[in-house]
Amino acid sequence: MEIFDYAPAPESRSIVTIRPAYDLFIDGEFTEAKSDERIVTLNPADEEPLSEVAAASDADVDRAFAAARRAFERVWSPLPGAERGKYLFRIARIIQERARELAVLESLDNGKPIKETRDIDLPLVAAHFFYHAGWADKLAHAGVGPSPRPLGVAAQVIPWNFPLLMLAWKVAPALATGNTVVLKPAETTPLTALAFAEICQEAELPPGVVNIVTGAGGTGRAVVAHPDADKVAFTGSTGVGKEIARAVAGTSKRLTLELGGKGANIVYDDAAVDQAVEGIVSGIFFNQGHVCCAGSRLLVQESIAEELLTRLRARIERLRLGDPLDKNTDIGAINSAAQLARIRELAAAGEAEGASGWSPACPIPERGYWFPPTVFTGVTQAHRIAREEIFGPVLSVLTFRTPEEAVAKANNTQYGLSAGVWTEKGSRMLWTASRLRAGVVWSNTFNVFDPASPFGGYKESGYGREGGRHGLEAYLG
């Protein structure tokens, strides 16, 4: 007999109305695409279609850029910063008011647990607009010169892992600095971006300031390659990032890229071990590991490796995988069949190359895309699972003996987005952090975000920063 077992606690879907089909959002209105091509977006937790969206053609993208250019020249750049800011404050408030609806919609379209969309994604989205709203009339104090100017029209392409949050990271600074936007959401997660379009209408944002064109890779290429883009901002894979860098080479477009990662989470022998375990878990299993800054390589000091791993496994056994809308779900669905295939392929490579995989006994739903939390031990620097970004709930465990070795292994990667350092000794933390070649170093915590804090990578994790004072530079000339 179970004396106390959690009953299902599903968040209600009825708060969200999903239309059967969505048009493009151009010049303040939903308008039909010139192309007939439609994309069906699924709920990855049950593979049921949620809606279908247009695949914007080159002509549609042209219209979006024309609207953005017009809005930039006639309305948005002449508007005083304080008034621009007030639109952003409005948007922040509407997001706060509609937070639950947006959280449910995000969980449906993306597969991530409702407790994350509710407690992390949506509060950060609202905070991001609120923070940047305040910059709009203070750009002269941002440290980028006495009278910074907007660049013009920003072409923005965002990924599927944090759909609305990545939109906020792109749109909020662009608008605050006086730029207008053509944004393409990810093919598999367009719905919250389209809900955001409605929010722009509700806020009475002038038409053309934000334009949202849905589509797949072709639309994305048209957006970033558009001759009228003054600035390109992309978050996604390193492979596509390199393509974009080639495409803008030789033009006057400004470019920021936020790409892949293979973050090292270094645990020293004096760490606060229970909190380190929590940090390892949130480092790799937060958002099913669909996190570019995930702590996907655990570097643990050999003298405590066994103890730490015992505790880690016990903790992972408590994770609850299943219905993303259940308020007690810790691990939701993998976003797409393609991503699931990629995770499976790399996990198989881990086994084939001699590492040893472990997963807790956790029931997997019959329909939908799922991958259990997995820990690989016996991993070496040479293994693919130690070098390639898996973008899934798969942790590779390596050990080290000395701080120098920890830093050397942590830096031995093409990436440089994030890293973690766990120690109760402040000087060792600062020593380690100062030697890590990564854009974000978390100490005694992991995967925390704030609009005031710049985010971005070293090396092939991209360039440019998003968030904070530093993030404004990308949109100012």
Partner: protein, 294 residues
């Protein structure tokens, strides 16, 4: 000659009582006194509380009590609350406009403009709350294996003498920067036109701003300013509305080395971007050193 025959009014208006704002409550002056407030044309508007030295003392106690909580909030949260103050003012726009028009002898349209500027001032400072540290703070490249970092921190309890000539916009322009940084305030409203300050207090009380962060006193400058300037538990003093008393008050403030802002500092209350000029005097810089080594 007008008809003086008495007639029964259809309805008798309910008049407002203008009280002090101390620790989140609206008491009368402990002295039991009030004074008549008139419009710029000399028409009686209302009686305002005539605060005493003891009210000053109570206000400082309330401000000190509120300081750990307010300064301990996240900067983002302070910003949200300041923005909420703007929202609350927008909801009382007509009331503010009427009081400003009466106090400053302005047309309704000009008074509306003043109210808009005052609301926008809160929005402006709402945005500063979580950027202050990024603009005033620094990582310092010291020689040696040390991490060295400087951050602004609020000074503590600030006494503010609101500017006499601008009873709403000037008041907001001196008050908002002080609490943006996490300080708490004892504000002495302009003696002649204190009503907008009391109405602002009522907006503050419904805005999520914790009680005691702002305490509003109305009364005689000459009675209230010296005990505030000499109070040992006040850390900073804004003399914007001190007038002829400024020198004497600065001398009193020197007794406990209060940070003093003299009259005349950036007193264009409608300037679009006053920056951190009125915040900087109310913050301390704290520098932290820490070794870096295995």
């Amino acid at each position: 000659m007008a008809d003086r025959t008495p007639s029964a009014p259809a309805r008798v208006a309910v008049r407002r009582t203008y009280k002090l704002y101390l620790g989140g409550a609206f008491p009368r002056s402990e002295s039991g006194r009030s004074y008549p407030v008139t419009s710029s044309r000399g028409v009686h508007l209302a009686n305002a509380a005539l605060a005493s030295r003891k009210d000053v003392r109570d206000a400082v106690v309330a401000a000190r009590k509120a300081f750990p909580g307010w300064s301990g909030r996240t900067a983002c949260n302070r910003g949200q609350i300041l923005y909420r103050i703007a929202e609350m003012m927008e909801g009382r726009r007509a009331q503010f406009a009427g009081e400003v028009a009466a106090a400053q002898g302005m047309s309704e349209a000009r008074a509306q403009g003043v109210v808009s500027a005052a609301i926008d001032r809160w929005v402006y400072y709402a945005g500063w709350a979580d950027k202050l540290g990024q603009v005033l703070g620094a990582a310092n490249p010291v020689s040696g294996p040390y991490f060295n970092h400087s951050q602004p921190e609020p000074t503590g309890v600030a006494g503010i003498l609101a500017p006499a000539g601008s009873p709403l916009l000037g008041l907001v322009a001196v008050l908002a920067p002080v609490i943006t940084a996490g300080n708490t305030a004892v504000l002495v409203a302009g003696e002649r036109a204190p009503l907008p300050a009391v109405t602002l207090a009522e907006a503050l009380a419904t805005s999520d701003l914790p009680g005691g962060v702002v305490n509003v006193l109305t009364g005689r400058l000459s009675e209230l300013a010296p005990p505030l300037a000499g109070h040992a538990d006040v850390n900073a003093l804004d003399l914007a509305g001190a007038g002829e008393l400024a020198g004497e008050l600065e001398e009193l403030a020197a007794g406990t080395l209060k940070r003093v802002v003299r009259p005349g500092l950036h007193d264009d209350w409608s300037a679009a971007d006053p920056g951190v000029a009125r915040i900087r005097p109310f913050v301390e810089t704290k520098t932290v050193w820490h070794p870096m080594g295995v």
